[in-house]
Amino acid sequence: MIPHERSLVEKLKDKPFTLIGVNSDTDKALIRREAKEKGVTWRSFWCGDKGTGGPIPAKWNVNGWPTIYVIDDQGVIRFKGVKGQRMEDAVETLLAEMAQRK
Protein backbone atom coordinates (compact mmCIF):
# COMPACT_ATOMS: atom_id res chain seq x y z
CA MET A 1 0.00 0.00 0.00
CA ILE A 2 2.68 2.47 0.97
CA PRO A 3 4.44 2.45 -2.45
CA HIS A 4 1.22 3.54 -4.13
CA GLU A 5 0.67 6.37 -1.68
CA ARG A 6 4.27 7.45 -1.94
CA SER A 7 4.07 7.67 -5.72
CA LEU A 8 0.76 9.56 -5.56
CA VAL A 9 2.15 12.12 -3.13
CA GLU A 10 5.26 12.52 -5.29
CA LYS A 11 3.28 12.80 -8.53
CA LEU A 12 0.86 15.41 -7.17
CA LYS A 13 3.31 17.44 -5.15
CA ASP A 14 2.54 20.62 -7.13
CA LYS A 15 -1.24 20.13 -7.05
CA PRO A 16 -3.74 21.24 -4.42
CA PHE A 17 -3.67 17.80 -2.85
CA THR A 18 -2.65 16.46 0.55
CA LEU A 19 -2.56 12.95 1.92
CA ILE A 20 -3.23 12.84 5.65
CA GLY A 21 -2.59 9.61 7.49
CA VAL A 22 -4.19 8.36 10.66
CA ASN A 23 -1.46 6.11 11.97
CA SER A 24 -2.34 3.28 14.34
CA ASP A 25 1.13 2.01 15.14
CA THR A 26 1.73 2.09 18.87
CA ASP A 27 5.50 2.43 18.75
CA LYS A 28 6.68 5.89 17.71
CA ALA A 29 10.29 4.75 17.28
CA LEU A 30 9.12 2.11 14.82
CA ILE A 31 7.07 4.70 12.92
CA ARG A 32 10.09 7.02 12.56
CA ARG A 33 12.40 4.18 11.51
CA GLU A 34 9.99 2.68 8.99
CA ALA A 35 8.96 6.09 7.63
CA LYS A 36 12.57 6.87 6.87
CA GLU A 37 13.20 3.46 5.35
CA LYS A 38 10.09 3.47 3.19
CA GLY A 39 10.04 7.12 2.18
CA VAL A 40 6.86 8.13 3.98
CA THR A 41 6.76 11.91 3.77
CA TRP A 42 3.13 12.70 4.58
CA ARG A 43 1.77 13.87 7.88
CA SER A 44 -0.24 11.55 10.09
CA PHE A 45 -2.39 11.88 13.13
CA TRP A 46 -1.04 9.51 15.74
CA CYS A 47 -3.72 7.37 17.38
CA GLY A 48 -1.87 7.01 20.67
CA ASP A 49 -0.74 3.94 22.48
CA LYS A 50 -4.07 2.20 21.99
CA GLY A 51 -3.23 1.95 18.31
CA THR A 52 -6.09 0.58 16.26
CA GLY A 53 -8.31 1.07 19.32
CA GLY A 54 -7.36 4.75 19.62
CA PRO A 55 -9.95 7.53 19.68
CA ILE A 56 -9.89 8.57 16.00
CA PRO A 57 -10.43 5.11 14.41
CA ALA A 58 -12.92 4.33 17.17
CA LYS A 59 -15.00 7.39 16.39
CA TRP A 60 -14.83 6.85 12.60
CA ASN A 61 -15.91 3.21 13.01
CA VAL A 62 -12.75 1.92 11.34
CA ASN A 63 -12.54 -1.86 11.58
CA GLY A 64 -10.18 -2.63 8.71
CA TRP A 65 -6.86 -1.16 7.63
CA PRO A 66 -6.26 0.60 5.36
CA THR A 67 -9.52 2.54 5.32
CA ILE A 68 -9.58 5.47 2.94
CA TYR A 69 -11.76 8.56 2.56
CA VAL A 70 -11.34 11.01 -0.31
CA ILE A 71 -12.56 14.52 0.45
CA ASP A 72 -12.96 17.38 -2.03
CA ASP A 73 -11.70 20.95 -1.67
CA GLN A 74 -15.07 21.98 -0.17
CA GLY A 75 -14.63 19.45 2.62
CA VAL A 76 -17.23 16.99 1.32
CA ILE A 77 -16.69 13.22 1.47
CA ARG A 78 -16.74 12.05 -2.16
CA PHE A 79 -15.24 8.55 -2.11
CA LYS A 80 -14.87 5.85 0.53
CA GLY A 81 -12.88 2.65 0.57
CA VAL A 82 -10.97 3.33 -2.65
CA LYS A 83 -7.50 1.80 -2.71
CA GLY A 84 -4.56 1.73 -5.07
CA GLN A 85 -5.46 2.82 -8.60
CA ARG A 86 -9.04 3.63 -7.60
CA MET A 87 -7.76 6.04 -4.96
CA GLU A 88 -5.58 7.71 -7.55
CA ASP A 89 -8.48 7.96 -10.03
CA ALA A 90 -10.69 9.48 -7.33
CA VAL A 91 -8.11 12.15 -6.53
CA GLU A 92 -7.59 12.96 -10.22
CA THR A 93 -11.36 13.29 -10.71
CA LEU A 94 -11.61 15.82 -7.89
CA LEU A 95 -8.56 17.77 -9.05
CA ALA A 96 -10.07 17.96 -12.55
CA GLU A 97 -13.31 19.28 -11.06
CA MET A 98 -11.41 21.99 -9.24
CA ALA A 99 -9.51 22.97 -12.38
CA GLN A 100 -12.76 23.24 -14.35
CA ARG A 101 -14.36 25.57 -11.81
CA LYS A 102 -11.60 28.13 -12.22
Binding site: W46, W60, F79, K80
Partner: protein, 264 residues
Protein backbone atom coordinates in the same frame (compact mmCIF):
# COMPACT_ATOMS: atom_id res chain seq x y z
CA UNK B 1 7.34 -6.66 -0.47
CA UNK B 2 5.57 -9.03 1.83
CA UNK B 3 3.24 -7.14 4.02
CA UNK B 4 -0.31 -7.39 5.09
CA UNK B 5 -2.37 -4.54 3.74
CA UNK B 6 -5.91 -5.56 4.50
CA UNK B 7 -7.14 -7.28 7.59
CA UNK B 8 -9.83 -7.12 10.18
CA UNK B 9 -9.47 -6.20 13.82
CA UNK B 10 -9.72 -9.87 14.76
CA UNK B 11 -6.63 -10.68 12.74
CA UNK B 12 -4.57 -8.06 14.51
CA UNK B 13 -3.83 -10.62 17.16
CA UNK B 14 -1.58 -12.41 14.74
CA UNK B 15 0.48 -9.35 13.95
CA UNK B 16 3.60 -8.16 15.67
CA UNK B 17 2.35 -4.65 16.32
CA UNK B 18 0.15 -6.00 19.07
CA UNK B 19 3.13 -7.62 20.71
CA UNK B 20 3.22 -4.63 22.94
CA UNK B 21 1.63 -3.71 26.12
CA UNK B 22 -0.01 -0.50 25.06
CA UNK B 23 -0.44 2.10 27.74
CA UNK B 24 0.34 -0.20 30.62
CA UNK B 25 4.08 -0.65 30.10
CA UNK B 26 5.70 1.79 32.46
CA UNK B 27 2.93 1.98 35.03
CA UNK B 28 4.54 2.45 38.44
CA UNK B 29 1.53 0.80 40.10
CA UNK B 30 2.57 -2.59 38.71
CA UNK B 31 4.64 -5.19 40.49
CA UNK B 32 8.29 -5.26 39.35
CA UNK B 33 7.84 -8.74 37.89
CA UNK B 34 5.22 -7.30 35.55
CA UNK B 35 7.45 -4.53 34.18
CA UNK B 36 10.25 -7.04 33.80
CA UNK B 37 8.01 -9.42 31.85
CA UNK B 38 6.82 -6.65 29.56
CA UNK B 39 10.34 -5.37 28.91
CA UNK B 40 11.78 -8.80 28.23
CA UNK B 41 8.88 -9.66 25.98
CA UNK B 42 9.40 -6.47 23.97
CA UNK B 43 13.06 -7.39 23.47
CA UNK B 44 12.21 -10.97 22.47
CA UNK B 45 9.54 -9.74 20.05
CA UNK B 46 11.92 -7.29 18.43
CA UNK B 47 14.43 -10.09 17.94
CA UNK B 48 11.76 -12.30 16.45
CA UNK B 49 10.67 -9.53 14.08
CA UNK B 50 14.22 -9.11 12.85
CA UNK B 51 14.50 -12.86 12.28
CA UNK B 52 11.22 -12.79 10.33
CA UNK B 53 12.42 -9.89 8.21
CA UNK B 54 15.64 -11.76 7.44
CA UNK B 55 13.68 -14.87 6.52
CA UNK B 56 11.64 -12.95 3.95
CA UNK B 57 14.89 -11.96 2.24
CA UNK B 58 16.30 -15.48 1.95
CA UNK B 59 16.44 -17.13 -1.47
CA UNK B 60 14.61 -20.15 -0.12
CA UNK B 61 11.65 -18.05 1.00
CA UNK B 62 11.61 -15.89 -2.10
CA UNK B 63 11.59 -18.98 -4.28
CA UNK B 64 8.66 -20.43 -2.37
CA UNK B 65 6.82 -17.09 -2.56
CA UNK B 66 7.38 -16.90 -6.28
CA UNK B 67 6.03 -20.41 -6.76
CA UNK B 68 3.11 -19.53 -4.45
CA UNK B 69 4.12 -22.55 -2.41
CA UNK B 70 2.18 -21.60 0.71
CA UNK B 71 3.01 -24.83 2.52
CA UNK B 72 6.74 -24.19 2.34
CA UNK B 73 6.27 -20.53 3.20
CA UNK B 74 4.27 -21.53 6.25
CA UNK B 75 6.85 -24.09 7.31
CA UNK B 76 9.68 -21.55 6.95
CA UNK B 77 7.76 -18.94 8.91
CA UNK B 78 7.08 -21.47 11.65
CA UNK B 79 10.81 -21.84 12.19
CA UNK B 80 11.01 -18.26 13.47
CA UNK B 81 10.23 -18.57 17.15
CA UNK B 82 7.47 -16.29 18.41
CA UNK B 83 7.89 -15.51 22.10
CA UNK B 84 4.19 -14.97 22.81
CA UNK B 85 3.20 -18.33 24.24
CA UNK B 86 6.31 -18.70 26.36
CA UNK B 87 5.83 -15.27 27.94
CA UNK B 88 2.10 -15.78 28.38
CA UNK B 89 2.80 -19.00 30.28
CA UNK B 90 5.23 -17.05 32.41
CA UNK B 91 2.53 -14.42 33.04
CA UNK B 92 0.11 -17.15 34.14
CA UNK B 93 2.74 -18.50 36.55
CA UNK B 94 3.40 -14.99 37.92
CA UNK B 95 -0.34 -14.50 38.35
CA UNK B 96 -0.42 -17.33 40.87
CA UNK B 97 2.20 -15.60 43.06
CA UNK B 98 0.17 -12.44 43.58
CA UNK B 99 -3.36 -11.38 44.42
CA UNK B 100 -6.00 -8.81 43.59
CA UNK B 101 -5.35 -6.33 40.81
CA UNK B 102 -1.77 -7.53 40.32
CA UNK B 103 -3.13 -10.96 39.47
CA UNK B 104 -5.66 -9.37 37.10
CA UNK B 105 -2.82 -7.58 35.30
CA UNK B 106 -0.90 -10.80 34.68
CA UNK B 107 -3.98 -12.73 33.61
CA UNK B 108 -5.01 -9.98 31.20
CA UNK B 109 -1.51 -9.78 29.79
CA UNK B 110 -1.47 -13.54 29.16
CA UNK B 111 -4.88 -13.49 27.45
CA UNK B 112 -4.05 -10.52 25.24
CA UNK B 113 -0.52 -11.49 24.23
CA UNK B 114 -0.56 -15.29 24.30
CA UNK B 115 -1.96 -15.90 20.81
CA UNK B 116 -3.36 -19.11 22.17
CA UNK B 117 -6.94 -20.17 22.69
CA UNK B 118 -5.94 -22.37 25.58
CA UNK B 119 -4.14 -19.59 27.43
CA UNK B 120 -6.84 -17.00 26.75
CA UNK B 121 -9.61 -19.33 27.89
CA UNK B 122 -7.66 -20.22 31.02
CA UNK B 123 -7.06 -16.56 31.86
CA UNK B 124 -10.69 -15.58 31.25
CA UNK B 125 -11.88 -18.50 33.40
CA UNK B 126 -9.61 -17.34 36.24
CA UNK B 127 -10.87 -13.75 35.92
CA UNK B 128 -14.44 -15.01 35.96
CA UNK B 129 -13.76 -17.18 39.00
CA UNK B 130 -12.03 -14.58 41.19
CA UNK B 131 -12.07 -11.07 39.77
CA UNK B 132 -15.53 -10.16 38.52
CA UNK B 133 -15.52 -6.99 40.61
CA UNK B 134 -12.12 -5.70 39.48
CA UNK B 135 -12.22 -2.34 37.75
CA UNK B 136 -9.14 -3.41 35.80
CA UNK B 137 -11.26 -5.72 33.66
CA UNK B 138 -11.40 -2.74 31.29
CA UNK B 139 -7.82 -3.61 30.34
CA UNK B 140 -9.03 -6.95 29.04
CA UNK B 141 -12.09 -5.46 27.40
CA UNK B 142 -10.10 -2.86 25.48
CA UNK B 143 -8.50 -5.81 23.70
CA UNK B 144 -11.42 -8.19 23.81
CA UNK B 145 -12.67 -7.63 20.28
CA UNK B 146 -9.32 -8.96 19.08
CA UNK B 147 -9.79 -12.04 21.18
CA UNK B 148 -13.09 -12.90 19.52
CA UNK B 149 -11.49 -15.76 17.61
CA UNK B 150 -9.35 -16.87 20.52
CA UNK B 151 -11.75 -17.11 23.45
CA UNK B 152 -14.50 -19.72 23.08
CA UNK B 153 -17.78 -18.06 22.26
CA UNK B 154 -19.67 -19.83 25.06
CA UNK B 155 -17.07 -18.75 27.55
CA UNK B 156 -17.09 -15.16 26.30
CA UNK B 157 -20.89 -15.03 26.61
CA UNK B 158 -20.87 -16.50 30.12
CA UNK B 159 -18.09 -14.19 31.26
CA UNK B 160 -19.75 -11.05 29.90
CA UNK B 161 -23.08 -12.01 31.49
CA UNK B 162 -21.39 -12.56 34.89
CA UNK B 163 -19.60 -9.24 34.66
CA UNK B 164 -22.83 -7.44 33.80
CA UNK B 165 -24.53 -9.04 36.79
CA UNK B 166 -21.67 -8.45 39.24
CA UNK B 167 -19.50 -5.43 38.52
CA UNK B 168 -19.96 -2.31 40.63
CA UNK B 169 -18.10 -0.18 38.04
CA UNK B 170 -20.11 1.68 35.39
CA UNK B 171 -17.22 1.67 32.92
CA UNK B 172 -16.68 -2.09 33.21
CA UNK B 173 -20.41 -2.67 32.85
CA UNK B 174 -20.52 -0.45 29.76
CA UNK B 175 -17.68 -2.43 28.17
CA UNK B 176 -19.45 -5.71 28.87
CA UNK B 177 -22.64 -4.32 27.32
CA UNK B 178 -20.77 -3.17 24.25
CA UNK B 179 -18.91 -6.44 23.76
CA UNK B 180 -22.01 -8.56 24.31
CA UNK B 181 -23.83 -6.40 21.73
CA UNK B 182 -21.00 -6.99 19.26
CA UNK B 183 -21.18 -10.69 19.92
CA UNK B 184 -24.96 -10.73 19.37
CA UNK B 185 -24.72 -8.59 16.25
CA UNK B 186 -22.52 -10.95 14.31
CA UNK B 187 -23.44 -12.12 10.85
CA UNK B 188 -26.80 -13.88 10.60
CA UNK B 189 -28.04 -12.54 13.94
CA UNK B 190 -31.74 -13.10 14.66
CA UNK B 191 -34.06 -10.12 15.05
CA UNK B 192 -34.36 -10.89 18.75
CA UNK B 193 -30.55 -10.81 19.16
CA UNK B 194 -30.32 -7.57 17.19
CA UNK B 195 -32.97 -5.97 19.37
CA UNK B 196 -31.17 -7.12 22.50
CA UNK B 197 -27.91 -5.73 21.13
CA UNK B 198 -29.62 -2.36 20.55
CA UNK B 199 -30.78 -2.25 24.16
CA UNK B 200 -27.32 -3.14 25.43
CA UNK B 201 -25.70 -0.44 23.32
CA UNK B 202 -28.15 2.16 24.64
CA UNK B 203 -27.43 1.09 28.21
CA UNK B 204 -23.67 1.05 27.59
CA UNK B 205 -23.75 4.51 26.06
CA UNK B 206 -25.46 5.89 29.17
CA UNK B 207 -23.10 4.11 31.55
CA UNK B 208 -19.99 5.23 29.65
CA UNK B 209 -21.04 8.89 29.41
CA UNK B 210 -18.04 11.23 29.25
CA UNK B 211 -15.47 8.58 28.25
CA UNK B 212 -13.89 7.47 24.96
CA UNK B 213 -16.00 4.33 25.05
CA UNK B 214 -19.04 6.41 24.09
CA UNK B 215 -17.44 7.17 20.73
CA UNK B 216 -16.77 3.48 20.16
CA UNK B 217 -20.34 2.50 21.01
CA UNK B 218 -21.77 5.29 18.87
CA UNK B 219 -19.39 4.59 15.96
CA UNK B 220 -21.70 2.59 13.65
CA UNK B 221 -24.36 5.30 14.02
CA UNK B 222 -21.75 8.05 13.54
CA UNK B 223 -20.62 6.43 10.30
CA UNK B 224 -24.18 6.07 9.07
CA UNK B 225 -25.15 9.64 9.94
CA UNK B 226 -21.93 11.60 9.37
CA UNK B 227 -19.54 9.65 7.16
CA UNK B 228 -21.49 8.94 3.99
CA UNK B 229 -20.57 10.10 0.51
CA UNK B 230 -21.88 13.63 -0.07
CA UNK B 231 -21.68 14.62 3.60
CA UNK B 232 -19.31 17.27 4.95
CA UNK B 233 -16.37 15.44 6.52
CA UNK B 234 -16.31 15.77 10.31
CA UNK B 235 -13.16 17.49 11.49
CA UNK B 236 -10.35 15.54 13.11
CA UNK B 237 -8.13 17.21 15.69
CA UNK B 238 -5.10 15.50 17.11
CA UNK B 239 -1.33 15.28 17.26
CA UNK B 240 1.08 14.18 14.57
CA UNK B 241 3.97 11.78 15.18
CA UNK B 242 6.06 14.66 16.55
CA UNK B 243 3.39 15.73 18.99
CA UNK B 244 2.36 18.83 17.01
CA UNK B 245 -1.37 19.49 17.15
CA UNK B 246 -3.25 19.95 13.89
CA UNK B 247 -6.68 19.59 12.36
CA UNK B 248 -8.03 18.08 9.19
CA UNK B 249 -9.74 21.41 8.48
CA UNK B 250 -6.30 23.10 8.33
CA UNK B 251 -6.15 21.60 4.83
CA UNK B 252 -9.53 22.86 3.58
CA UNK B 253 -9.34 24.01 -0.04
CA UNK B 254 -7.31 21.01 -1.09
CA UNK B 255 -8.31 17.56 -2.23
CA UNK B 256 -7.61 15.25 0.69
CA UNK B 257 -7.01 11.57 1.09
CA UNK B 258 -7.55 10.48 4.69
CA UNK B 259 -5.78 7.19 5.06
CA UNK B 260 -6.14 5.05 8.19
CA UNK B 261 -2.95 3.05 8.09
CA UNK B 262 -0.01 1.54 9.96
CA UNK B 263 3.28 -0.17 9.21
CA UNK B 264 2.67 -3.30 11.23
Amino acid sequence: MHRVTVFTAALLLALPVMAQDGSRGGDPGRPPAYSKLVAEFAAASAKSQVAMKELLETDEFKKAAEAKDTETMKALRAKVTQPNQEFAQRALAEAEKVQGDDRVSFLVWAAVNGRSGEIANHAVAALQQDHLKSKHLTELFENFAMLANTVDDDQAAAFLAKVQATTPHAQVHAWADYLEARRLNRRGASDADKARAERLLAEGETLAAGTDLVDLIAAPRFEKEKLQIGMPAPDIAGEDIDGVRFKLSDYRGKVLVVDFWGFW
